[in-house]
């Protein structure tokens, strides 16, 4: 049986091997899209899809029943807007913001009890944990999600986008269609509400207290 170190060194091959794709830079891909070049479309999908997946996996969860529909919607949105991309920020960041905006609009329309993560919930794999510790952490994550689901939706989303996923307030405003000051106000209130809800959940609070000892 291979040792732990050898297992961890195994190369994970991406879905599309670079050798099977057209060899194009970002600028060439975007220019080719404008000309409706078939090779550019293939290259753009390979370029954008991982970023869309990274964003949606976090915001919706990898097993959300609407996942693929939202991913296709995000792809439509980024292609439609691609001729307005001027390189003011990295392409990945631009793709991520547009995708998050599509996900937010979808969540708002969806009338499900668990508003953020759908029925299945996001895959909560914590790679550094052994089975029992990972189980405890998954339970904690589930409980945090329950609290977020019960919060005011806009405050919870602002908290997630800013504090968990690292979007700036300007970007949060862009995603949620609101001003920076409104986003800031929701963030402050969202944090306070999350804190107060968790305070009443003694077991979760205790778990998070232990977590605070981790550097």
């Amino acid at each position: 049986m291979p040792s732990t170190a050898q297992r961890r060194l195994r190369l994970v091959v991406p879905v599309a091997e670079p050798s099977t794709l057209p060899v194009l830079s970002d600028d060439a891909i975007l220019a080719g899209l404008g000309r409706r070049d078939a090779a550019a479309s293939v290259a753009f999908y390979a370029r954008a899809r991982p970023v869309i997946d990274r964003t949606l996996s976090r915001l919706l969860g990898g097993h959300d029943p609407d996942y693929e529909d939202v991913a296709q919607g995000a792809l439509y949105e980024v292609v439609s807007s691609s001729n307005s991309f001027r390189g003011e920020c990295p392409l990945d960041a631009w793709l991520s913001i547009l995708t998050a905006r599509v996900a937010y609009r979808h969540i708002r329309r969806r009338r499900l009890e668990r508003r953020f993560f759908g029925k299945g919930g996001p895959e909560t794999s914590l790679s550094a944990y052994s089975a029992p510790a990972a189980f405890a952490s998954r339970q904690a994550v589930d409980r945090v999600r329950v609290h977020l689901d019960r919060m005011d939706a806009k405050r919870a989303w602002t908290f997630l986008l800013h504090d968990v996923y690292g979007y700036t307030l300007e970007q949060v405003g862009e995603i949620m269609g609101t001003s920076v000051s409104a986003a800031q106000s929701r963030l402050v209130r969202g944090r306070r509400e999350a804190h107060e809800r968790i305070l009443t959940d003694l077991e979760l609070a205790h778990f998070l207290d232990d977590l605070s000892e981790v550097p």
Binding site: L11, S19, G61, L75, A93, S96, V144
Partner: protein, 368 residues
């Protein structure tokens, strides 16, 4: 603006959570159809705008009348294709493989790279890249680097492994960028070391990317965040700096072999760099102790297993792994020392009255 305590801790927990989704071939086909649809819709919109634009221009020209204006080309001259830089790669140590649209071959000396070209090194392998700007990149063992762009924007992607870079001073509008699976590093004429770990760790919000800057300033972008890392600094700041890898021997470049498909050769374990040690969080230490006990138990090493479980229980009594450790001790002792097994079972029942092994523990306590 700091967050209230539990909000901040909850955010931290959620950041550690890994999420995944693998797009299928079906998704890809659907995606390509979506792209075609979006481009079609965009063209229609542009067509309508163009029509109205032309119509408006025609009206304006008629209104203005017969005043003629001499137009000069706004660009001021012919369009010049971007100048491509020369990038040459050579193998180091046990060598590397080179992949482009024609296939995969062993990397020979002074191989010219084009966009899309990829270099992969195995254990004991390595490669050195020299760019016509004076920039030098050293790719270490078990690493994969792809050239994405080679004009004023010099861009690579490091899928895994370690890259040391000495980047020559950049001219006006020149950029040097390296993408990793979860971050983007942009440099401003500097020397740095970049690594992509095989798996996420608890520090650094789970990013696999590690950066140490020797000279100059490097900008790191992850998702929507960015940070500027100066000389002597390390990123992520809450992960300990990676230990330098011992230098690989640099023999004279070997001549390319004859086009046989080759798997990257495996070096002996001694040639592999010493494993680096991630920061030892409390949970990581607890996991390690528990896993040591489980491994020893599987190997039949009762003494080591009992010791590891006892260590965990004594040092981290509030750990979520303590119950499992007690059960492990109980079972090991049942086979070797019934008296101590009963004592262990009694302790288990005292502390975990509703535990998953209470029936088993009660049986051990009641046994003759």
């Amino acid at each position: 603006m700091t967050a209230p305590r539990y909000a901040a801790l909850a955010a931290r927990l959620l950041r550690w959570t890994e999420h995944s989704h693998l797009a299928t071939d079906e998704d890809r086909d659907r995606g390509l159809a979506t792209i075609a649809r979006a481009l079609g819709a965009r063209r229609k919109r542009q067509g309508r705008r163009l029509f109205f634009g032309v119509a408006a221009a025609a009206v304006a020209a008629w209104v203005i009348g017969w005043v003629s204006v001499e137009r000069r080309a706004l660009s001021g001259g012919p369009v010049v294709a971007p100048q491509l830089l020369s990038i040459v790669a050579s193998p180091i140590g046990d060598g590397a493989s080179f992949l482009d649209s024609t296939g995969e071959v062993p990397l020979g000396s002074d191989v010219t790279l084009r966009v899309g070209g990829r270099i992969a090194t195995g254990r004991g392998g390595g490669a050195q890249l020299r760019i016509s700007t004076g920039t030098q990149l050293d790719l270490e063992a078990v690493s994969t680097l792809t050239l994405q762009n080679q004009d004023k924007l010099q861009r690579f992607s490091l899928a895994q492994g370690v890259l040391e870079a000495k980047v020559a001073k950049l001219g006006h509008s020149e950029r040097f960028v390296i993408d990793t699976p979860d971050a983007q590093v942009e440099v401003r004429g500097t020397a740095f070391r970049l690594e992509v770990l095989p798996a996420a760790q608890l520090c650094g919000d789970g990013t696999r990317t590690r950066l140490d800057v020797a000279e100059g300033i490097v900008e790191v972008r992850t998702g929507a965040r960015f940070a500027r890392i100066g000389a002597g600094q390390h990123w992520p700041p809450d992960c300990s700096p990676t230990a330098p890898v011992p230098g690989l021997p640099v023999p004279a470049p070997s001549p390319p072999s004859s086009g046989v498909a080759i798997a990257v050769p495996h070096a002996s374990p001694a040639a592999r760099a010493k494993p680096r040690h991630a920061p030892r969080s409390l949970i990581a230490v607890q996991n390690e102790l528990f896993e040591r006990g489980v491994r020893a138990q599987q190997l039949g090493d009762t003494a080591t297993a009992l010791g590891a479980y006892a260590d965990l229980i004594e040092r981290y009594p509030a750990s979520p792994l303590v119950e499992n450790a007690r059960v492990g001790r109980m079972r090991l002792l049942e086979a070797s020392d019934k008296l101590r097994a009963r004592q262990e079972a009694a302790r288990y029942l005292e502390r975990h009255a509703h535990g998953f092994a209470r029936v088993e523990a009660q049986r051990i306590v009641d046994s003759p």
